[in-house]
Amino acid sequence: MAELLDTAGRPVVVVTGMGLVTSLGAGKTDNWDKLTAGKSGIRAITRFSTENFKTRVAGTVDFVPVEPLSAPALAERMAEMAIEEALSESAIGRRGVFPGPLFLAVAPIEIEWPQRQELAQASGSNDAIGYDDLLRSAGTGQFRRFHERFLFGSVAYNLADKFGTQGSPISLSTACASGASSIQLGLEAIRRGEAEATLCVATDGSINPESLVRFSLLSALSTQNDPPESASKPFSKNRDGFVMAEGAGALVLESYAHARARGAKILGVIEGCGELADSFHRTRSSPDGKPIIGCIRSAIADAGLEPEDIDYINAHGTGTPENDKMECLGVTSVFGEHAKRLAISSNKSMIGHTLSAAGAVEAIFSLLTLDRQRIPPTINYAVPDPTIALDVVPNVARDAAVRHAISNSFGFGGQNVSLVMGREPRA
């Protein structure tokens, strides 16, 4: 019988429920089928005009109706769907009561252009409009709903109320690593005995004109719009940036002891986590790769494993010239000779970069990889980058023996997180 404590004497943390929404569809089944078939969720953006934009494609989630549409409203609805799927699978607690805290990775919330325009119109001003006019509209009390909707904590408060999580929900952001940080917070809380179960959720529905412009002005986005499905080209020589996308992932983390006692099905194990911040630059990583190397190493050590135990890396793999080069440097430094034997693929080649949701969505795909013993491909790999000599599982999924997997997330602002996952608790 496998031990309830890991090699460091901490409670083993397992996953008993998972839920997903991406541009590929709703639910794990639909997502996994399409992911392993090499299908892309990237399309031309139809939500708003992209005239004059250099980037005109994204992985928007357009099949989730939300009225009125705003980033927090879409993020909240996708998170609800993902949570419902995860809770249904987990069968933990009871309807409306989750026996643990909520950690929610969410994009920073602010009012958007439709709201600003409403406020401007309500001000009745015919001349130059400024914030004094918007303040005047705010002061009428007719826009109370904007306060509630656009507070930073609004999505978390609503989800905590709906699903009955314990205590005060935490809304967190580490940019592109946010989803992984939410899992890390859950892992740590269970390890220190603060909770027997945690609901770790990550969601991002923020594709609107300004957010597209923001990333575009930083030259971070692919401009290879035609065909849309081929814009995201991680590890390719002709990669030119990431593709923005939307989605949500939810995981029920539980101590193995608690899960076993109630006869829950174990879907996988969160074996370890490493994090390390980079002080080099606000958007670029340190050229020597030390923070990424340190992050991956510390995750493997935290899991009580050796580099040779890792068979698969679910890459951060954004498809920017910079990230893929640095991630390769990190991987080859950490794994040495073993780097040639393991497989590394990027889900972002198909679902795009789901930003605040990415770390959780990709952790779920990593757990499915472990469960099904099948590795999703890196699609759009037509022109290999000779400086990235890794097995990127080009274009076609493959069956493989995968014992342990790592999922990397490296965020703007230098916040790096790596998660190590396994199939079942180790004796």
């Binding site: 920073p108 252009w113 303040l135 740590e188 911040a277």
Partner: protein
């Protein structure tokens, strides 16, 4: 907790507000009867403006300063003060493994660009195209980084070299409560040895005043102390920077660091705000702290009904000496709880409490030494938190 070596000490504080910067300026200001508040610049809103700060002193490179707007500058400045206070500034080995949790909102809009776009939109033939063009041409490319919630932490890593780990919590007042709570629990459980925890606010901005005034939470018109706003409730937004260095006793003793205070416990709740819920939540949390004999540093905002319910709680515990710091330096939202823990730290460190500032009689004078302080953080909309700070 049986293992005293995992006691969590506060070994550094970095604070800046309308009262000035650092412990002495704040202690002086808290003992002053005159609030420093601006009711003109953002009329009808009352705000507490930042004192004069020479950002060069903590952010030496102009290039770094230019990458930030005031919110991130204030936070990066206060973080530097805290690292100086703890005596760890420049200790790159230690800073390289120091953990960080920041409570953050977001950065300033480009108000001129927003105004120009809103002015032009009604006249544009193709409004969507007009918006796209103006955004592409009017937004400074690095403005996004000055706005991103997790980039305050990012800037602190770059400027001060804090790189052990970096997390950012959002969520108004409870972001501050949970930032300290998670740091405390990680240190206690041996998941961390030393952490920098804090946040900042730029209260002198119309986009933020607007967010809170959608719900009518901004203090307008004449200024009154927090306990006297009943008929015209609201909080006065403040510019504040507040950071703490938290450290295990073991780690602090090994490097001969002197503690300012012990952070004993933090508890947080998120009551559904029915009438009486805040008071009931405070009751429950007070019990879980062991109903300590202590002074109270209250983060009461002046909003209703939360402030009245907190006041009612104090009425039933009339032995407690309460001070609402919102009357002195306003309400910074995300960094507020952390700022008040710093004030509580000063109280137990000096062993005394500053004078009452409240003709309404909620705040009573005390004599006798102060060894224990409880901090309250009742959010204007959601969330309640308590912290127990004790003399070492």
């Amino acid at each position: 907790m049986a293992d005293a070596s995992r006691d969590v000490w506060i070994t550094g504080i970095g604070i800046v507000s309308c009262l000035g910067e650092g412990p002495e300026a704040h202690w002086r200001g808290l003992n002053e009867p005159t609030p420093i508040v601006d009711v003109k610049t953002f009329a009808p809103y009352a705000v507490h403006p930042l004192c004069r700060v020479d950002f060069d002193k903590q952010i030496p490179k102009k290039g770094d300063q230019r990458q930030m707007e005031p919110w991130q500058r204030i936070g990066t400045y206060a973080a530097g003060l805290a690292l100086d206070s703890a005596g760890v500034k420049g200790n790159s080995d230690l800073l390289g493994r120091m953990d960080m949790i920041v409570a953050a909102g977001g950065g300033e809009r480009d108000w001129a660009a927003d105004g120009a776009i809103l002015t032009g939109l009604p006249k544009a033939n193709d409004p969507e195209r007009f918006l796209n063009e103006r955004l592409m041409s009017d937004l400074r490319p690095t403005l996004f980084l000055a706005q991103l919630s997790n980039l305050l932490a990012g800037n602190i890593s770059i400027v001060h070299g804090v790189t052990g780990s970096s997390r950012t919590f959002m969520g108004e007042e409870t972001a501050g409560v949970d930032a300290v709570r998670i740091a405390l629990q990680r240190i206690r459980a041996n998941q961390s040895d030393i952490a920098l925890v804090g946040g900042a606010q730029n209260g002198e901005r119309k986009d933020l005043l607007m967010l809170y005034d959608f719900g009518g939470f901004g203090l307008k018109g004449d200024f009154h102390p927090v306990w006297e706003r009943g008929s015209a409730p609201g909080f006065a937004l403040a510019s504040i920077g507040a950071f703490l260095v938290l450290e295990s006793r073991d780690h602090a003793e090994k490097r001969n660091a002197t503690p300012l205070a012990k952070l004993t416990q933090i508890t947080v709740a998120s009551a559904a705000r029915q009438p009486g819920a805040v008071e009931a939540s405070l009751d429950k949390m007070w019990g879980s702290l062991g109903s300590p004999d202590s002074v109270v540093i209250s983060g009461a905002t002046g909003c209703e009904p939360a402030t009245s319910e907190e006041r009612s709680f104090f009425k039933r515990h009339s032995q407690l000496a309460v001070r609402a710091t919102g009357s002195h330096f306003g309400h910074g939202v995300e960094p507020q709880f952390i700022m008040n823990i710093a004030v509580a730290t000063l109280a137990v460190h000096y062993g005394k409490l500053f004078a009452p500032f409240d003709p309404a009689g909620v705040e009573q004078s005390i004599t006798g030494p102060v060894a224990r302080a409880v901090v309250t953080g009742v959010g204007h909309w959601r969330g309640e938190g308590l912290a127990l700070v004790e003399r070492v």
